[in-house]
């Protein structure tokens, strides 16, 4: 217990690091996912194929393997990034595949007549997607996107394996110093739950707020 109480400030900075890592990666994953979903339903064949390939390849790899691969692979390819940035890239790429599939399912759930009416007004493909289809698609997938966000909070802990000192990394150091890993990680578990459980409640509230009446 003392191991925890003596290190509250370390935990606080670990939580902060996990939050920023999650938020930055979510921004990347969301933008990437929406763009990739748009490519997958779009009229350009090569973009469709590229988007499908990316989703299938990245989604079917273990996240820890991707972390290590990028950690060593990027410098070997001549791109040296701070470890934290590498973690944001990996988490964005990985979560982006799930966002893309979720958004695509939302797009497919929008009635075909909505896009037809928009096309018949003379809107371009991009305008139809951005102005009519996506706003409705995103509203229908708030709940599954929320689940992805919460999964991302949990997955961000794997950044610890390449040396990012977020909540899990901090906790490991505390465990090491105090030799009480059980207490240290019980506190970390509590901290993760304090992040994930309220996020779930927030997602529910958001879903109710943006629901489209039919």
């Amino acid at each position: 217990m003392e191991a925890v109480l003596d290190n509250l400030d370390f935990y606080a900075s670990g939580v902060l690091s996990t939050v920023t890592l999650t938020v930055a990666s979510w921004a990347g994953a969301f933008v990437l996912g929406v763009v990739v979903a748009a490519f997958r339903v779009g009229p350009v064949g090569p973009l469709r194929a590229a988007a499908a390939t990316y989703v299938e390849l990245v989604r079917n790899c273990p996240l820890a393997v991707l972390f290590v691969l990028f950690f060593f692979g990027l410098p070997d390819a001549g791109l040296t990034l701070p470890t934290y940035t590498t973690a944001v890239v990996v988490l964005s790429l990985y979560t982006g595949t799930y966002v893309a599939e979720t958004v695509r399912s939302g797009i497919n759930a929008v009635a075909a007549g909505q896009a037809e009416a928009a096309r018949s007004l003379g809107l371009s493909f991009t305008q139809v997607l951005a102005g009519v289809v996506l706003p409705q698609a995103l509203r229908t997938v708030v709940a599954p996107l929320g689940s992805l966000f919460i999964a991302l909070i949990r997955n961000s802990s794997i950044a610890f394996t390449i040396g990012v000192v977020e909540l899990t990394g901090t906790t490991s150091q505390i465990g090491n110093r105090t030799a009480d890993y059980t207490a240290a990680f019980l506190a970390a578990t509590t901290a993760y739950l304090l992040l994930t459980l309220p996020s779930g409640i927030a997602v529910d509230a958001l879903e109710r707020r943006v629901a489209v009446k039919r």
Partner: protein, 241 residues
């Protein structure tokens, strides 16, 4: 608008066969025919929601382009009203009507809004401008959809069974709006089985069967004394109800 020998297949199915049809400015043509005869497909081809396999469709002498930006621009010259209304569910009635003018015609928002309110006034639902489609009755939704199409100032309006998803008392309010448009000289192609509308608003009736336009006649002539056996047969069936 002129259709010349238009043909369309869905795989093996020959849905439009050598369709020739010309509609002059200000003219109203009612298209009638049994289910599956290709009426919706005809409308969708004129608006290029479907591609055609041969023949040509010209508006003001300009053929419809194949794809891309040019097509989107020309498509805006043809307004389409759907059986299922297809109002944008996440936008208010007013936003539905201003979307096209702002995004496609690049009208300033205030101008588009003013004009949209005039149109909503004209179709009798100005008081619903800030409502969402789900809060409107079917008849009100369809009138909003008509306003949305009119807002693009199209050269031609297509109506694909605009009243067949409506309860009887709402049919009249939509048909009234359409009769008003016809009186004001709007060029219209209307797929409908509403004979009252055809009689009071249309110059010609085109009867379709199995992908062909079998007969074109003035409404009085067509309903009282159709030339073809198929049309007689069809009329006796719909009159039986």
């Amino acid at each position: 608008m002129v259709l010349d020998k238009v043909n369309k297949w869905f795989d093996q199915l020959h849905v439009l066969r050598d369709i020739d049809l010309s509609v002059g400015a200000g003219e109203v043509v009612v298209v009638i025919g049994p289910s599956g005869s290709g009426k919706s497909t005809l409308c969708r081809c004129i608006n290029r929601l479907e591609t055609i396999d041969s023949g040509s469709i010209c508006i003001d002498g300009v053929p419809l382009p194949e794809e891309g930006r040019e097509l989107a621009r020309l498509r805006a010259q043809v307004g389409m009203v759907f059986q299922a209304f297809n109002l944008f569910a996440h936008k208010t009635v007013l936003q539905n009507v201003t979307l096209g003018p702002v995004k496609v015609l690049r009208r300033p928002k205030s101008v588009a809004r003013e004009r949209a309110m005039d149109l909503l006034e004209r179709v009798g639902i100005a008081d619903k401008a800030d409502r969402y489609p789900a809060e409107l009755s079917g008849g009100q939704q369809q009138r909003a959809a008509i306003a949305r199409a009119l807002a693009m100032e199209p050269k031609l309006m297509l109506f694909d069974e605009p009243t067949s998803a409506l309860d009887p008392e709402m049919i009249a309010e939509v048909l009234d709006v359409m009769v008003g448009l016809a009186r004001d000289g709007t060029t219209m192609i209307v797929v409908t089985h509403e004979m009252g509308f055809a009689r009071s608003a249309a110059q010609r009736v085109a009867f379709m069967d199995q992908g062909r336009i079998v007969e074109v006649a003035a409404p009085e002539q067509f309903f009282s004394d159709p030339e073809t056996e198929r049309a007689r047969d069809f009329l006796s069936k719909i009159l039986a109800h």
